[in-house]
C-alpha cells in the first residue's frame, strides 16, 4: 500500500494501462517511453483526445556503444507530436527496440505522414514497421548492402569515428582515401562478391492505383505508366515520379527519390558540431541562412544558457532569416511559373530581386549562396559599414513595390488562375494528417506558423500576420507565398528599425570551435520558408553529435504529392509538385 502512494501514476495509464513504460526528463522536457505493441493505440488516443494531430518528426537512433545502452535497447524510434490547434512544444514518444529484431507496428494508419519517414528509418537503420503498405528502400536502392546509418556500418572511405581525423593534422602524413580503400574508389563489396557472375535484380515499384470511376465515356482506354525523371525539367532537380494514367488522368503516383542522397547525416555524425554549419547550407540551398538558424537554435538548446545569442545577433538572425524567406519565395514563384509554361520571363523578374538580396548576403558572409554565417551564440561577423543603410534602402523602398509588381502581373492573371484554382486539392484534415507544414499547410487554411505557435529567437516581438488561405489548392499555396513575402518585409522593417548596437557573439561562444554539450537530446525547429525545419540531436558529451537528424520539410511534404495528384491531369502533377516547392538537397540530404 505504501508503495502505491509514493509512485505517481504514469501518463495515460488510466486510459491505456501499460502503454507508457516510463517518463524521462531530458534537456528538452519530458518524453514518454512507450511499449511497442501499444504504440498505435496510444497514438490514436493522443491524436483524437489530446489533440496532438501533427506527427512532425519520426526518426530512429542507433545507440550502439552509447553509455548505459545494451543490445536489448540498442535502437530507439522517436516521435515528435505537436498540436496545430494549441501550439507549443512537442510530446515526445520513444520506443526502444532490441538489436536482433527491431520491429514495431506502423503509425501509417494513424498518421499517414509517417509513410516516408518510416521508409527512411527502414532504409537507413533496418528497423521494420509492421503493417506499412510499402516498406522498401527510399534513399538507397534495393540490393544495397547494409543499413548505413547504423553505428557499426562503415563507409568505404571510413577513416575514424569522429573528426578531426588524426591523419589530417598538419604534421601527419596524409593518406588519400582512395589509397586506403582496396578498390581504389568510393565502393565496398561484401566478401566473395563477383561482379562478373552477378546479375542485376529486377526491382519493381509497386503502385497503389486508384480504382477509377470508369467514366471515361464510350472509349475503352488502357492504363499507361509514365516515368518522369530523374532528368526532367519540371522536377526541380533529380526527383522521379512514376505516374499511372488513364487517358490523361492520374490514377497513381509514386515518388522515387534518393538521387541526391549525399549522406548528410552520416557525415554529420563524424563532424564536430561547428563543422556541420556549412553542411546545413547545402540542405535547402536556396535558403541557407534559415538552415543555419535552425541548426544554431538546436545546438544552443543543447549547450544551454551560456550560449544564448546576444541581442544584436538575434536581430541579425531575424533579418537574415526573413531575407532568406523572400529569396526562397521569389525563386519558388519564379520556377512555379516556369512549370506553368510561362518560360523564364517571370523567373527573370523574380531573380532580379533575389540577386540584390544575395549581394547583401555576400557582403556579410563572403558567399552568395552558401553563407555559413551563423555561429553558436551569435553570428560569425558583424555587419559591414553601410550594410544596414543599403538593406533599409532595399526593404523600405524597393522590395514592397517589386512584390506588388509581381502580384499585379501574376495573381490576377487569368491563365494562372485557370491552371491553379481547384488543382491539387488537399483538405485541412488531410494536410495535417500527412504531416504537411509551411505554405503547404497554410494553403489549406490551417494557420499554423511556428513563429507564432512556438516562438523561437525573438519573433514574439514583431507584428506580423500568419499568411493562410483556405482554397486548399495550388493557387492558395501560391497566394501564401506572395503574402508571406509582404509579411517578411513587415518584420524586416521592424527589425531594421529596432536593431541595437552591441556584441555579436555571446562571450562563451567567441572563437569556440569545439563545443562539448552535456549528455542529452534536443529537438530544435524553425519555420523555414518550406515548412518546419527541425534538427534532432543526441549528445553523448563528446565534441561530435552522436545522432544528427534533419527533419526536412520538403521531404515530408512530399507525403501529400500522391494523394493530391490522383484524379488530376498529368500536366497538373507538374504544378502540384511546383506548389510543394521542393529542393532536392533537402529531400534527399
Amino acid at each position: 500500500m505504501s508503495e502505491e502512494t509514493v509512485v505517481t501514476p504514469l501518463p495515460y495509464s488510466d486510459v491505456l494501462p501499460g502503454a507508457v513504460l516510463a517518463e524521462e526528463t531530458d534537456l528538452d522536457g519530458t518524453s514518454l517511453v512507450v511499449a511497442a505493441d501499444k504504440l498505435p493505440e496510444l497514438a490514436r488516443h493522443l491524436r483524437d483526445v489530446e489533440g496532438l494531430d501533427l506527427l512532425s518528426n519520426l526518426t530512429a537512433v542507433d545507440y550502439f556503444g552509447y553509455k548505459g545502452r545494451t543490445a536489448e535497447d540498442r535502437f530507439e524510434v522517436v516521435y515528435h507530436l505537436f498540436s496545430t490547434e494549441k501550439g507549443g512544444g512537442p510530446t515526445v514518444l520513444r520506443v526502444r527496440l532490441p538489436e536482433n529484431n527491431p520491429v514495431l507496428p506502423t503509425l501509417v494508419d494513424v498518421y499517414r505522414g509517417a509513410d516516408l519517414q518510416e521508409r527512411e528509418a527502414y532504409d537507413l537503420f533496418g528497423i521494420r514497421f509492421l503493417g506499412h503498405p510499402a516498406l522498401r528502400r527510399i534513399l538507397l536502392w534495393e540490393g544495397f548492402h547494409g543499413h548505413p546509418m547504423r553505428k557499426d556500418w562503415q563507409e568505404p572511405y571510413y577513416e575514424a569515428e569522429s573528426k578531426p581525423f588524426k591523419s589530417r593534422h598538419p604534421d601527419g602524413n596524409y593518406a588519400w582515401a582512395e589509397d586506403r580503400n582496396p578498390w581504389g574508389s568510393n565502393v565496398q563489396y561484401p566478401d566473395g562478391f563477383d561482379p562478373l557472375t552477378w546479375q542485376e535484380p529486377v526491382s519493381q515499384i509497386p503502385l497503389q492505383s486508384h480504382a477509377g470511376n470508369g467514366a471515361s465515356g464510350m472509349l475503352k482506354t488502357d492504363r499507361l505508366i509514365v516515368n518522369m525523371g530523374p532528368q526532367h525539367p519540371s522536377t526541380h532537380g533529380v526527383f522521379r515520379m512514376i505516374v499511372e494514367l488513364e487517358g490523361e488522368t492520374i490514377m497513381a503516383l509514386e515518388p522515387e527519390m534518393g538521387y541526391l542522397h549525399r549522406n548528410h547525416e552520416k557525415i554529420g555524425e563524424r563532424n564536430t558540431y561547428l563543422m556541420n554549419m556549412p553542411y546545413t547550407d547545402r540542405l535547402d540551398y536556396i535558403s541557407s541562412m534559415s538552415n543555419n538558424l535552425a541548426y544554431a537554435i538546436a545546438v544552443e538548446k543543447l549547450l544551454g544558457e551560456e550560449y544564448a545569442p546576444t541581442e544584436r545577433a538575434e536581430y541579425i538572425r531575424v533579418i537574415m532569416a526573413e531575407l532568406t524567406r523572400i529569396v526562397n519565395h521569389l525563386f519558388s514563384v519564379g520556377t512555379f511559373l516556369n512549370d506553368l509554361g510561362a518560360f523564364f520571363t517571370p523567373l527573370l523578374y523574380a531573380v532580379r530581386e533575389r540577386e540584390l538580396i544575395l549581394d547583401m548576403f555576400e557582403a556579410v558572409s563572403g558567399s552568395r549562396m552558401m553563407c555559413n554565417y551563423l555561429r553558436f551564440g551569435g553570428v560569425a561577423r558583424d555587419l559591414p559599414d553601410g550594410w544596414l543603410e543599403q538593406c533599409k534602402d532595399l526593404v523600405f523602398k524597393r522590395l514592397p513595390g517589386k512584390i506588388e509588381e509581381l502580384t499585379t502581373y501574376l495573381t490576377g492573371n487569368e491563365i494562372l488562375q485557370e491552371r491553379c484554382i481547384g488543382v491539387g486539392y488537399l483538405s485541412p484534415q488531410d494536410a495535417i494528417n500527412l504531416s504537411c507544414t509551411g505554405p503547404q499547410l497554410r494553403g489549406s487554411g490551417v494557420a499554423y506558423d511556428i513563429r507564432r505557435a512556438e516562438p523561437y529567437s525573438i519573433y514574439d516581438r514583431f507584428e506580423f500576420d500568419i499568411a493562410a488561405f483556405n482554397g486548399c489548392d495550388v493557387y492558395s499555396r501560391f497566394l501564401v507565398r506572395m503574402e508571406e513575402m509582404r509579411q517578411s518585409v513587415r518584420i524586416l522593417e521592424q527589425a531594421l528599425k529596432q536593431i541595437p548596437e552591441g556584441p555579436i557573439q555571446s562571450p562563451k561562444g567567441q572563437g569556440s570551435y569545439v563545443v562539448r554539450p552535456p549528455v542529452g537530446t534536443v529537438y530544435g525547429r524553425i519555420e523555414s520558408p518550406k515548412g518546419e525545419l527541425g534538427f534532432y540531436l543526441v549528445s553523448d558529451g563528446s565534441g561530435n553529435p552522436f545522432r544528427y537528424r534533419v527533419r526536412p520539410p520538403s521531404y515530408i511534404n512530399l507525403n501529400a504529392l500522391g494523394p493530391m495528384s490522383i484524379g488530376n491531369k498529368v500536366a497538373d502533377c507538374v504544378i502540384i509538385l511546383g506548389g510543394i516547392d521542393i529542393v532536392l538537397g533537402e529531400v534527399d540530404r
Binding site: L139, G143, F144, P148, N186, V187, P190, G237, R262, M370
Partner: protein
C-alpha cells in the same frame, strides 16, 4: 579539266572584294562554339547558379549558350552541376550516351570534380570523371555564375584546338558508347577492366579472410557439438577437444582433414553413435553440459582456437 584549272585561283571580278580565305577548322569551330546548346539538367546547388547564369544579370546568351535543351538528343553540352551520387550516375551516363557527337562535359563545382565536401559519403561518386570524360572543370562551391561563364569561354578555347581531320567522332571505328554502371551491393563500374579489377580485389580479400579463419565449435542439438570450418581446408592432425569438467580429451586421428566450409558433428553421452559418415563419437561415458563446463578446441600448438561455455545453472 583543262578549262577548270585555268579559272581556279582567280575570282570573278565582282566577288574579288568579298572573299575571305580561311581554314575549314576555323569556320567549323567558330560556328559551333557560339551555338553550344547546354542540356537543362540540374543536380544540386550548382544548378541554381547555372540557372542564374542564364538570367539578365549574367546573361550567358552573350556567348550563344542560352538555348538550353531538356532533351539530350538536342544538346551539345552536359553540365554536371552538383554532387553525383551512385544512384544518379546511372542515368547520367545513360544521358551522356544519348547525346550526339560532338559533345562536351563541364564538371561544375567541387562535388562534380572530386566529391567536394561530400566525398566521404557512402553514396557519393568522387568525381564524375571516374565515369565520363570531362572537358572543363570549374572550381567553387558553388562556382559563381561568372566562374561558370569563364568555364564556357575556356571550352570555346578548347574548340579552337580541335581539327575536323583529327577529332575522333568522325572516324568509322568510333562508337562513343560509355558502359552504363549498375547498382549492385554498391555501384558497379561495368567497364571490363574495372570489373576485372573489382573481381580480383574481391577474390584476394575472400582468400585472405578464409586464410585467417580457423575451425570453430558451437553447440548442436542434444549432447552434440558442431565443428565448422569457415576458413581454408585444414588438417587437424594433433588437434584436440578438451573438456574442463570431466577432463576428457578427444584426439583427432592423424590425417583428419576438414574441408573449407565443411562441418562435422561431435557426439557425446551414453547413447552417442555416429549417425552418418564423418561424424565423430567423442565419449560415451558422460554427457556434456555440466554447470559452467567449458569445451575448447585446441590446435597442434596447444592454443585454444575456439571455446564454448555452458551456462552455470544454480539450483
Amino acid at each position: 579539266m583543262a578549262e577548270n584549272t585555268s579559272t581556279t585561283g582567280v575570282a570573278p571580278e565582282e566577288l574579288s572584294d568579298n572573299i575571305l580565305i580561311t581554314t575549314v577548322d576555323s569556320v567549323y569551330n567558330l560556328a559551333r562554339s557560339f551555338s553550344l546548346w547546354p542540356m537543362t539538367f540540374g543536380l544540386a546547388c550548382c544548378a541554381i547558379e547555372f540557372i542564374v547564369a542564364g538570367t539578365a544579370r549574367y546573361d550567358m546568351s552573350r556567348f550563344g549558350m542560352e538555348v538550353a535543351r531538356p532533351s539530350p538528343r538536342q544538346a551539345d553540352l552536359l553540365i554536371i552541376s552538383g554532387t553525383v551520387t551512385k544512384k544518379m550516375v546511372v542515368p547520367i551516363v545513360r544521358l551522356y550516351n544519348q547525346m550526339a557527337e560532338p559533345r562536351y562535359v563541364i564538371s561544375m563545382g567541387a562535388c562534380a570534380t572530386g566529391g567536394g565536401p561530400f566525398k566521404e559519403g557512402y553514396n557519393v561518386v568522387s568525381g564524375i570523371d571516374k565515369f565520363l570524360p570531362v572537358d572543363v572543370y570549374v572550381p567553387g562551391c558553388p562556382p559563381t555564375p561568372e566562374a561558370l561563364i569563364h568555364g564556357f569561354i575556356t571550352l570555346h578555347k578548347k574548340f579552337k584546338t580541335q581539327s575536323v581531320r583529327t577529332v575522333p567522332w568522325y572516324r568509322k571505328s568510333y562508337t562513343g558508347e560509355t558502359p552504363i554502371p549498375a547498382l549492385g551491393p554498391d555501384i558497379i563500374d561495368t567497364n571490363p577492366d574495372a570489373l576485372k579489377r573489382v573481381r580480383d580485389v574481391n577474390m584476394t580479400r575472400l582468400m585472405a579472410s578464409r586464410a585467417a579463419a580457423a575451425p570453430q565449435i558451437s553447440l548442436g542439438d542434444a549432447d552434440t557439438i558442431v565443428l565448422r570450418n569457415p576458413g581454408l581446408t585444414a588438417d587437424l592432425t594433433g588437434w584436440t577437444l578438451q573438456s574442463s569438467a570431466s577432463e576428457q580429451t578427444y584426439h583427432f586421428p592423424a590425417g583428419f582433414v576438414l574441408m573449407s566450409d565443411g562441418e562435422v558433428r561431435v557426439h557425446t553421452g551414453p547413447g552417442a553413435t555416429s549417425s552418418s559418415a564423418g561424424d565423430i563419437v567423442w565419449t560415451t561415458e558422460a554427457a556434456l553440459g555440466g554447470d559452467g563446463e567449458k569445451i575448447s578446441l585446441v590446435n597442434a600448438e596447444g592454443a585454444a582456437v575456439s571455446v564454448i561455455e555452458y551456462e552455470a545453472t544454480t539450483a
